[in-house]
Amino acid sequence: MSNITPFQGESPDNFNTRCLCVLVLDTSYSMEGGPIDELNKGLLGFGDFLKSKNSTRFSVETSIISFNSDIECVQEPALVDEMQTTNGFPLKVAGTTKLVDGVRAAIKKVEDRKQWYRNNGIAYYRPWIVLITDGFPDKDQDTEGLANEIKIANKGKHFAFLPMGVEGADPSFLSKIATPEFPPLPIDWQSFQNVFKWLSNSLDKVSQSAEGEVVQFDAVKDFTRTGWGGGDFTQTTI
């Protein structure tokens, strides 16, 4: 039977549903040397991965918040083609580990962007916050308060929180702030490029997921230091 069909018709230019990913990156002094260099390379690769598929290119918005003694948003939420080169790149190390303040800045960024999506009639998937750290939070940081905030936000499905710990990170703290869907992931800084490849593939799957679908991520063994073997992420259902 012929595959030719007489039906035709132009389709409108609609904007893709957005999938926001806020990277919260530790740039404290302990990241000096190999880790920060590999992190910068990984970020460049992340942009290439996002550009390589239309689904991520036109759907995934990335924001980058760095934290050391100061918190800085070095990239406001943007599609990969709209990301600006700023003085923030490449990331440089300095100071201590104001981790809680960094994550709180990411949470605020997520809520502000969601409001912007709502104001502009743009549909969106549940945003992701990805934390990468190699250290212990400064002693004056409100870790209990953050753990509680993330727990409440997770219950309300405000965002998905993915904590990743480079060697030197505090596993008990990461476990405390993690959610059941995403236990803390111990990662190898020498494999940052694989981390971002996995992240891009995972966001690609989320950006194409249907209501309530359980998204099965790729295995993560090529960049983890121990154990964790991939996971499920269920889109919110009513």
């Binding site: 069909t5 035709q8 018709g9 009639g121 549909a123 309530g212 259902t237």
Partner: protein
């Protein structure tokens, strides 16, 4: 042919379900009662999260046609469309309660959790003098008036995030008015359409950037450049003697990969387009 209407209908499996070796979870059905002069078109989209939603969507369309035909024996479509909105709403809430009972029966008979059958529903009841659209969940529907203008007739139910919606099996029965939405168009129409959300991006204007305000705008507009050519082709096909089955076959091919948006869509795609064949107003 359905009376003096030509209607193309089809459900095409999405790329994700092909990859995962899952069935198409959408269903559709069209029926026309010549004697009582009304048609029924139903689209149902099974929930991705529900393990037997392909069966649920079949229940919606098959039992939906059956139950509506029974209800229209009590109150004709012509009578119903003249009634106040509240009475029309009540008619469809009663209908959906009966349909939900069919879900309960199926669930018991087949030992399946009722939530595993989760599916949306869009129903369009039509004749030349107007239409009524009633739905639970998402998807789109619209009609073309005799001035050739297209209008939407359904506001999809969306949660905060994309791809959140409700289903006939959701906990909606304590306040059904909030979730069962019915719109009547009591004026002459010449075409109509209804679809699952897998087709909306290819056929509806959903948003645009307003250069003046520098803001994005949310839209819900049937796209005339999509629908008008296909209405014209439908009329040509029926005049050239194509049967309903042949038209549906060509339509299904179109939904499968007839344009780049259909081709790249990962969700199941169901689209029904109907038009009067004796109407000459359409350009």
């Amino acid at each position: 042919m359905y009376g003096n209407w030509v209607i193309a209908k089809g459900s095409s499996i999405g790329g994700r379900h092909i990859e995962d070796n899952l069935p198409c979870q959408d269903s559709n059905a069209v029926f026309f009662n010549l004697e009582m002069d009304y048609g029924l078109a139903i689209v149902s989209d099974g929930a991705g999260s529900a393990s037997h939603s392909d069966l649920g969507s079949k229940i919606v369309v098959e039992k939906g046609i059956e139950l509506l035909n029974e209800k229209f024996l009590e109150t004709s479509f012509q009578e119903l469309i003249q009634k106040e909105q509240l009475e029309v709403d009540t008619f469809f809430i009663e209908f959906y309660k009966l349909l939900y009972k069919k879900f309960e029966e199926y669930s018991l008979e087949n030992d399946l959790p009722i939530k595993s059958l989760a599916a949306t529903s869009i129903i369009v009841v039509f004749n030349q003098s107007g239409l009524i659209c009633s739905h639970i969940g998402d998807g789109r529907a619209g009609y073309q008036d005799n001035e050739n203008t297209w209008h939407s007739v359904l506001e999809p139910f969306r949660g905060e995030e994309a791809n959140q919606t409700i289903f006939i099996t959701s906990d909606i029965w304590e306040s059904p008015n909030e979730f069962i939405r019915t719109t009547k168009v009591n004026k002459q129409i010449q075409s109509f359409t209804l679809m699952s959300d897998g087709c909306e991006s290819a056929t509806f204007e959903l948003n645009r950037f307003n250069e003046e305000t520098q803001l994005y705008e949310k839209l819900n507009n049937p796209y005339p450049k999509f629908f008008n050519p296909n209405v014209a082709i439908l009329r040509e096909l029926v005049l050239s003697g194509k049967s309903t089955e042949e038209i549906d076959d060509l339509w299904l091919k179109f939904l499968h990969n007839g344009n780049s948006k259909f081709e790249s869509e990962i969700d199941d795609k169901t689209l029904i387009l109907g038009t009067l064949i004796n109407n000459v107003n359409n350009a």
